[in-house]
Every structure is written in C-alpha cells, then in structure tokens.
C-alpha cells in the first residue's frame, strides 16, 4: 500500500460514487450467475452464496456499498429464488423468516467487516502520521539555525496541508528581532488577508511565535489540526534547543575572549611597567644627585630613558592598531606607494634594530608601485624588522627583498634568528604567541598578529619559513586596484 503524500481529504459525492457502482456491479454479476445456475441450487444455498458480494463489498468498499449489496441481494433472493418466483411477495412464513435472517446477516457482516476496514484505515493513517512526525523530528534535529528550522516547518506544513501559504514566525529570535519565514516566499494572498488558521509555537517556558496558514478550503480536519499542533510543538522544542546551543556557544566565545583579555592585560601591564620602572629608576637617580653631572653614567641613564619612552610609545601604538584590527575598524587609505618609501620610513623608526643589525636591502629598480595604505605597510615593515632584530643574534644581518610576482609583489624579510617548529609556523601570527626564547625577548606578542591583520586587510597573505641559515617572513601585496594601473611616465 502506498501512502498518500497528503492528509486524506473529505471525499465529495463524486469521489464516493465508484465504490457503490462497483458494489452494484459485483452483486448484479453474482445474481446473474446464480440465476443461470438456478436448476442446481436450492434457495438456502443461493442465500448463502448471495452473502459473498455483501461481505466482499464490505471488505473492499466499506459500510455503504455493502448495505447496498445486501439490499440488492435481498431483493434478488426474494425475486428469483423465493416462491412465488418473479414477484416480491412472500407466501410462506418460513420464507419470510429466512429473508429477514438473510437481511440481518447481511447487515451484520457489513457492519463488522466495514468497522474492521475503517479501523484498519485509521491504523494506517496513524502509522502514516507517526512516520511523518518521525521524519520531521529527524529533519528538524539536523537544523541548528532558527531561520532554517522555521523554513523547514513552513515548507513541511505547506506540503502536507496543501496550503496556499504558510508563514512561521518567532517574535524574538536570538538577535532580539522578530524572524518571519514564508512558503512560498511571496505572498499569493492580499497583504491584509487574515490567516485561515493560526497555531502557536509554544516552548516549555513561553510563547516563541506562531504559524499561520492560508488555504482556499478554509476548514481543517481534526486529523490535520492534531498533526499541525504536533508539528508546532516539535518545532518549538527544536527552536528552544537551538537557542540553548547558541547561548552556550556564545558563552564559550565570551569565555575565550575573557581569557584573551586577561592574557592581554597581564602582558600589557608587564610590558608597560617594565619601561616605566626603568624610567622611574633612572630619573630618580638623576634627580637625587647621586650621578655626577658630567659622566658616562649620566648619559647612559638619559639614553635608557629615551629608549624606554620610545618602547612605551610603540607598545601603545601596537595596542591601538590591534584593537582597530579586532574591531574591523581598520580603514585603508590606499594610494600608489613605493615599497622603498615605506621601508625607509620603517628603518628610521626601528633604530634599535638597525643599530644592532646591518640592514641589506635588495629592491629591483623597476619594482612596480603597490596599491596600499603606506602608513600601515610601514607598520608591517617596522614590526617585522623589530621582530627580526629581537630574535636574531646582534651583528647578524637583516635582509629585505621584494619582487614582482603575478599581479602583485612578494616582500621577504630574512633574519638569522632561530627556527620555529614547523607545526608552529602559522601560530606565530596569533596573538600573544612567543614560541622561542620568551624570557629573552620583550614585547606584547602583538607585533606579528598586527602584521597579519594589516596584510590580510589589504587582501594579501603573510607566512613564515625556516631557512637553512635563518628565518624568513614573506607577505604579498597587490599592485593592481580594480581598474587603474600606475602610469609609466618618463621625464
């Protein structure tokens, strides 16, 4: 037996007619056969045989057709087999009794078989409903997003009820706003038409929203109502579960960001206090008069104060940039930029690194201009050079190369610093990662993640690589904005 995809509709008189016709035909054929075989039959045998169409009609087409068959069989029995033949009159009392018994038996069979058949149909219907619900709960369970859940509920309800339109609505979704989903997406009915049926989406604690149906045939059967209620409560439970899951994810994110914040705070307070402590010590010693006016100690202390103040300034700049990158508030002011300009400005700023390390620059004369924010790219150079200076032994060179490649530039900064384990190469660009020699190196652990943020905001990539005799950073930059190209001009 195949299951209908829709709930059984109330049959109209047209759809009801064929079973009566079949029953009528079946009975007529049986009567004809019996009339032909009359010479070999007695009336009681004919009566028994005439119960066949009655019981089979009941089994096949239900109560109504079987009663029709019973009445026909009763008339045929009287007409063809009870004397006087070919009349509907009965002379003998026992014949009348036999006819009445026949009618009673026929009616009883119709009743019993019909009821059995109806309960079978009901059982099948129930099984069908529970299958649908099972399927629905399975499908809903796979959906985590409120919109998807509402969409599935609307689609499924529309499909099963053949409604013209189904809307599902939660009054307050996880972002606090109402969320409405409709199948089909465009209203076929006038905007202000009242829905033909509204079913609440009732959660365990409060009303989540509702489901609205519009259907040309306005009335909904009891079965449909029952199913729709079940759909609605299933969907409500799923919605609640999705919400709880989201809240716990959010809680996890918050926890993670709290963890980052406290890492930042501890790192920052340490990094802020170190230069402050140095400055305070140097200043108090200078002002207390313990250091002679004209001495090496005095100029050393002054140099320390100067350097530490610069360090503080860099730190604050990095924190600011980081928070801008994190907030997505980095606004690129792109213009045609010579990489050599950014690099030169960065070198002027990273004087500690360039004092301790010879800087070797190899930029081809015909290097194309880059379409970048020069202030930010200078920051990238500055951070990479400062990082290289911190991690490589003093006196070893820092090399900077650039080459045009495809539609852009690849810039490389090489130092003689220690290797980073291969699996950690990507992680050095994460915040607060210090994978080597942490005790020796000062800094917030923000420099490289700022580089990553800036390069990626430009649509480029940044990566690190262990070299046989050192360590390299590479990053790519675009040399082609959407339409314009730098103009090649000569004076």
């Amino acid at each position: 037996m195949s299951y209908p995809t829709t709930l059984t509709r109330k049959p109209t008189w047209i759809t009801r007619l064929p079973p009566y016709l079949y029953s009528l035909l079946f009975t007529a054929v049986t009567v004809a056969a019996l009339v032909l075989a009359r010479p070999y039959l007695t009336a009681p045998v004919a009566a028994l045989l005439l119960l066949i169409p009655v019981s089979l009609s009941a089994a096949a087409w239900g109560l109504g057709p079987s009663i029709l068959a019973g009445l026909l069989a009763f008339i045929a029995l009287n007409y063809f087999f009870i004397s006087p033949l070919y009349t509907l009159t009965v002379h003998q009392a026992q014949d009348l009794l036999a006819l009445l018994v026949f009618l009673g038996v026929a009616a009883l069979i119709s009743q019993l078989v019909g009821r059995m058949r109806d309960s079978l149909a009901l059982a099948e219907q129930r099984e069908h409903e529970s299958r649908r619900l099972y399927e629905m709960s399975g499908q809903l369970g796979q959906r985590k997003d409120e919109g998807q859940i509402l969409q599935y509920l609307a689609d499924y309800t529309q499909e099963t009820t053949l409604a013209d339109q189904v809307e599902t609505l939660v009054t307050q979704s996880s972002n606090g706003k109402p969320l409405l989903v409709s199948t089909p997406p465009i209203r076929p009915h006038p905007i202000d038409a009242q829905p033909d049926l509204v079913i609440s989406l009732l959660g365990t604690q409060y009303l989540l929203g509702e489901m609205r149906l519009w259907r040309e045939r306005k009335s909904f059967s009891e079965t449909e109502m029952r199913l729709l209620q079940t759909y609605a409560s299933l969907a409500a439970v799923t919605l609640e579960r999705a919400r709880l899951a989201q809240e716990s994810t959010r809680a996890q994110i918050l926890e993670e960001s709290d963890r980052l914040k406290s890492a930042l705070l501890s790192s920052v307070s340490h990094e802020l206090r170190t230069p402050l402590a140095t400055i305070k010590a140097a200043i108090t010693s200078l002002s207390s008069g313990t250091v002679p006016w004209e001495s090496d100690a005095r100029s050393e202390l002054v140099a320390v104060i100067d350097e530490e103040a610069d360090q503080l300034n860099r730190l604050v700049g990095n924190l600011l940039n980081m928070s801008r990158i994190e907030a997505g508030a980095l606004q690129l002011q792109r213009q045609w930029t010579a990489i050599s300009d950014c690099l030169a400005a960065a070198l002027r700023r990273s004087q500690t690194a360039s004092r301790d390390h010879p800087i070797q620059i190899d930029l081809p004369d015909d290097l194309p201009l880059a379409w970048v924010d020069d202030v930010l790219i200078e920051q990238v150079f500055s951070n990479l050079i400062s990082n290289s200076g911190k991690y490589s032994p003093p006196g070893t060179p820092i090399e900077i190369h650039a080459a045009s490649q495809g539609g852009g530039l690849v810039v490389t900064v090489i130092n003689r610093g220690p290797h980073v384990a291969e699996p950690d190469l990507g992680r050095i660009f994460e915040k607060f990662q210090r994978l080597t020699a942490a005790d020796r190196v000062t800094g917030t652990g923000l420099g490289l993640s700022i580089c990553k943020g800036i390069v990626e905001a430009h649509g480029g990539t940044i990566w690190a690589e262990n070299l046989p005799d050192g360590f390299a950073f590479h990053f790519t930059l675009s040399t082609s904005p959407l339409s314009e190209q730098p103009v090649e001009i000569s004076g």
């Binding site: 100067d306 103040a309 300034n313 700049g317 600011l320 940039n321 002011q333 213009q335 045609w336 930029t337 010579a338 050599s340 300009d341 950014c342 690099l343 030169a344 400005a345 070198l347 002027r348 800087i359 620059i361 930029l363 004369d365 201009l369 924010d373 020069d374 202030v375 200078e378 730098p486 103009v487 090649e488 001009i489 004076g491």
Partner: protein
C-alpha cells in the same frame, strides 16, 4: 637674538603646557599658553606671536577650525601637534595652512628644529624670496642657470625632476603634502596622481642619494608627504 621670539602654545593638556613652557622659556623664547581653541584665537589676535604650536584635539573647537580661522588673517607659522594614529588629520591641517606637524610624543630637539625651520621660512617669505640661488645642504641650485650642483659636480635633471627638487629644497626642513607637491610641480589637475610623485621621487633619489633605498635628503613621511632634509 635681537628680540625675544614669542610662541603661543594651544593645548588642553596641562602637563604638556607646563613642560613646553619650562623648556622653551629656558631656550630663550617668550611663551603664552591657551588650553582652549577660542582662548587661543583671542590670544593670537591680541599678542601677535611669532609662532603658534597648536594641538589638534581641543575641548571646544577643533584644531582645524583654529587653523582655518588663523589663516584668514595671519601668516604666522603654525606647527600642529598630533598623535601618530591620525595621519589624515595632519594632512588636513597642513592643507588648511599649517606649516608643519609634530607627532606626540616628540623629542625637544625635533620641536626646536621645526620651530627654526618655520621661523626661517616665515622670514624668507618676507625678505629673500627673490633669491636666484638656493643653497640646501651640499646642493646648490642656480635658478637663473637652471643648474643643480653638488660641490663641483653638476647633477643632470629632467625638467620635472628639477622643478620637484627646487620646490622641495626651497622648503628645506619642512614637510610638504603629496597634494601640495603635485599642485606646485604638475598643476592643480594632477593633485590626485600620487603615482607621478612616487616615480619622480625614485628617479630623483637615484640621482642625488648615495643609497636610494635608505634616503637621507628626500625623506618620506608615510601618509603625509615628503620632506627635504638639507643636513642629510
């Protein structure tokens, strides 16, 4: 110094005012201070200082407005103070007529150098603008002969390179915005073509710098413009 130079400092940070007053007074300047924009404008009108140091973030009216109003009636040099993260603000202030800028925190030597350059240009504008020879560091530019010399050696420049160098060198020590340079050397129609400037700066550096990748004379100020440093 025949007359004591008078500097007006407009900044809302009391500690900055206190430090600048102390340091600049010790350096022989006469100092007035204002902690609000309106007050600064009034003082500028009454006291007619020789130079104004102006912080861009003020509590009442912003530094741009102060700059704009000052430029309506005076050519007194203005040095703008600002924090590092606001390059566009500095460009705006420079385009509004400020003479130079300084990023907080700054060294006092840097401030004194900016003051000297601004004073010199203010004096230069009044007196010797018609000079036919510009001496900038080791370079000697003869305007009438269209000739650039480093010591006894002549540097051959194209017309555009020459115009660029003349403009930068005659403003030696002072920052010039991309826009100002483009307007002066290429004309008002080309003020957005930074790429011209980049290309010519590179060509010029190859002719006058020892190491074009680490320039000493033609210095880039990211996001702002270029500065010619005669001392190299």
């Amino acid at each position: 110094m025949t007359r004591q130079m008078h500097i007006l400092v407009i900044d809302d940070e009391p500690q900055i005012l206190r430090a600048l007053r102390t340091i600049l007074t010790a350096k022989g300047f006469r100092i007035s201070t204002a902690s609000r924009g309106e007050e600064g404008l009034a003082l500028a009108a009454v006291e007619e200082p020789d130079l104004i140091i102006l912080d861009l973030s003020l509590p009442d009216i912003d530094g741009f407005q102060v700059c704009r109003e000052l430029r309506q009636w005076t050519r007194t040099p203005i040095i703008v103070l600002s924090v590092r993260e606001s390059e566009r603000d500095k460009v705006t202030a420079l385009d509004l007529g400020a003479d130079d800028y300084l990023t907080k925190p700054f060294g006092i030597e840097e401030l004194l150098a900016r003051i000297r350059v601004a004073m010199r240009h203010a004096g230069g504008a009044a007196h010797a603008s018609a000079s036919s020879v510009i001496q900038a560091g080791p370079f000697r530019i003869d305007i009438t002969a269209h000739q650039v010399m480093r010591g006894d050696e002549e540097i051959k420049l194209t017309a555009t390179e020459y115009n660029l160098l003349v403009y930068l060198a005659s403003n030696a020590g002072r920052v010039l915005t991309h826009r100002a340079i483009l307007e002066q050397v290429w004309g008002p129609a080309d003020i957005d073509h930074v790429e011209y400037l980049r290309v010519y700066i590179r060509q010029l550096r190859q002719k006058i710098e020892k190491d074009p990748n680490q320039p000493r004379y033609l210095v880039n100020e990211p996001g702002i413009g270029y500065r010619f440093i005669p001392e190299g």
